[in-house]
């Protein structure tokens, strides 16, 4: 009897511990982000107040200033947003096409040194952005594509292709090869078989690879900060620096821009989270 009782007690204690730990974890994950969102709605005097003001007031000043454009000393957010969007979407589309073609090659063909090629491609992804940005800056300057959308798109395509290959390889490998064989017997060319059968089946997986690529481009800083100079090509991560002066930082404004950066990323990730995990694990585990 007593033993049953003690086991029951222990289970209750464990349950409480479990709940507390989980709660704390979630707090630590959420609070920094929420703090940013909260402060984007607080007036600067309140952010800077000493002693701190705990009951926040609400203002849209930072957003108003942000969207008012460069004319009034604000930051040209619209341009940054547009640049980010153009660069991320274009580079993602191209990276997906190229990566999908490569991933398909790895998933469907047998050839000598396949593993070597695969690891080799991945290693290019491992090259640190900072280390690449120095020489890339010089090369792009020589070619004359520094400070252009094209240059940044090119850089991001190269950066995203290896990982896209990893993901799409995993997704295509999940599709039995008999599927395209059946399609070929049904009268398709290999090209038709891919677009009519394999691509539709792998569609959701490809979409999540695309979102991964998009997020990488959307959030990238090390390369963008060197390859862009002007309002016409700077992306939002680089734009964040506009809120910093020599000794002061406009926290409220920066938080507002941060929110603008996070929201699209958040929405996209919501949509594909399930496939994302599947893609990562299949790519890795099902060797």
């Amino acid at each position: 009897m007593d033993r049953n009782q003690s086991h029951r007690n222990r289970r209750r204690v464990l349950k409480t511990l479990h709940f507390t730990a989980l709660f704390l974890t979630m707090m630590i994950i959420c609070i920094p982000g929420l703090w940013i969102v909260l402060n984007s709605f607080r007036p600067t005097v309140e952010i800077m107040a000493k002693p701190p003001v705990w009951v926040p007031s609400f203002t849209l000043d930072h957003y108003r200033a942000m969207f008012a454009g460069a004319g009034e000393g604000g930051v040209p957010v619209f341009s940054y947003f547009r640049n980010s969007l153009i660069v991320s979407v274009t580079s993602t589309l191209i990276a997906i096409l190229i990566g999908m073609s490569g991933g398909y090659a790895f998933a469907r063909y047998r050839f000598k040194g396949k593993n070597g090629y695969f690891v080799g491609l991945m290693l290019f992804r491992a090259v640190p952005g900072v280390a690449l940005s120095l020489p890339l800056f010089i090369v792009f300057a020589k070619v004359g594509i520094i400070d252009t959308h094209f240059g940044l798109i090119l850089a991001y395509v190269a950066m995203n292709v290896p990982f896209t290959i990893w993901l799409t390889d995993g997704f295509f490998r999940q599709i039995p090869k008999e599927l395209h064989e059946a399609a070929e017997i049904d009268g398709c060319t290999r090209w038709q078989a891919f677009w009519q059968v394999e691509f539709p089946v792998a569609r959701s997986g490809v979409a999540s690879a695309a979102i991964f690529a998009f997020l990488t481009s959307w959030n990238e800083f090390a390369l963008a900060s060197q390859l862009t100079r002007s309002v016409g090509s700077k992306t939002m991560p680089v734009g964040l620096l506009d809120f910093t002066a020599e000794f002061t930082i406009n926290w409220g404004g920066m938080c507002a821009l941060a929110v603008l950066m996070i929201v699209p990323a958040l929405i996209l990730t919501f949509i594909v989270q399930k496939h994302l995990i599947a893609g990562l694990t299949f790519g890795g585990v099902k060797g």
């Binding site: 090659a105 919501f270 995990i277 890795g284």
Partner: protein, 297 residues
């Protein structure tokens, strides 16, 4: 009769190879070359002066470089291990949750969406000694202190690691959780019946099964360990007095502030080598674990 053509797989891989060669390989070759010159951005003619391994000798005999190198390796070791540990813990906790698991999992993915530079600013804000959330909370609780989170060397290192871990633990947690979902139930139940304690069945059944997933996470992480650059650059810029200088910030300072490209590129090569070493190491571990799992069924 049959025409000699490029094999199809090669044609399919060609675009990838071309883009990567153009954007990564060529600049890297250029930087490899320039690392053997005293190249300075301000004096282009220096590009043609060959100095052999001078730059490498210079950095190898430079205490500042070695300090940054050692700190980087230490930083990565601590950070990766803690991320793994926390990730494992979070995944195990999440696996036990009976309701709202989807929501929790989505929340868990939040940090993955944040731009590293944003993470940098975010924690620069939160750890600000004057108006930061942390100090404000401490002061409101009655501690009359203003801890110099980003100014004191030790605290600054802690803050940076905190930011880095906050950003990247999700990758581990999510992938390990996926592993837990994929895990067959029977072995665990068999172990329970055989009288294993929870710790024993975790140690001998769950963990081995999770290994491939852990290595996938490690591999993915090792692909972009250098993201830490963004965070450090924003939070401390390598300061105070170079106490949080990592290989990447040192390189960027040498290249962009001092304009000594040749020297910076030499450092760049060391950092590339470091990244590649990490990646290859985990890739091999992954292949091995995969083979083992394959044998186990």
């Amino acid at each position: 009769m049959t025409r000699r053509r490029l094999p199809e797989w090669f044609v399919l891989l060609l675009p990838a190879i071309i883009v990567i060669a153009a954007v990564v390989l060529i600049p890297l070759l250029f930087s490899l070359y320039s690392s053997f010159t005293p190249y300075k951005l301000t004096r282009p003619s220096t590009l043609w002066k060959w100095v052999g391994t001078y730059n490498y000798e210079k950095i190898l005999s430079d205490a500042k470089f070695w300090a940054a190198f050692g700190r980087t390796v230490l930083f990565l070791t601590i950070v990766l291990n803690l991320e793994l540990l926390f990730g494992l813990g979070i995944a195990l906790m999440m696996n036990k949750v009976t309701w709202g698991q989807r929501t929790l999992r989505t929340i868990l993915m939040f940090p993955m969406m944040f731009s590293p530079i944003l993470v940098g600013f975010q924690f620069k804000f939160i750890f600000n000694d004057n108006i930061g959330l942390v100090n404000n909370v401490l002061q409101s609780m009655g501690f009359n202190v203003a801890l110099p989170w980003l100014v004191d060397a030790k605290l600054a290192m802690f803050s940076i690691m905190f930011a880095e871990i906050w950003m990247s633990t999700s990758v581990f947690a999510i992938l390990i959780l996926a592993g837990l979902f994929a895990m067959p139930r029977d072995p665990l139940e068999a172990a329970k019946v055989d009288g294993c304690t929870p710790w024993q069945s975790f140690r001998h059944i769950t963990l081995p099964f999770l290994m491939p997933f852990i290595y996938i996470a490690m591999t993915i992480r090792s692909l972009d360990v250098a993201r830490a650059y963004d965070i450090v650059q924003i939070m401390t810029g390598g300061g105070p007095a170079r106490r949080t200088e990592l290989l990447w910030t040192l390189m960027s300072r040498t290249g962009y502030v001092d304009a000594r490209m040749g020297l910076a590129n030499a450092m760049g090569y060391v950092s590339i080598l470091l990244s590649i070493l990490f990646t290859i190491y985990f890739f091999r571990k992954l292949s091995a674990a995969r083979a083992e799992l394959g044998m186990a069924g």
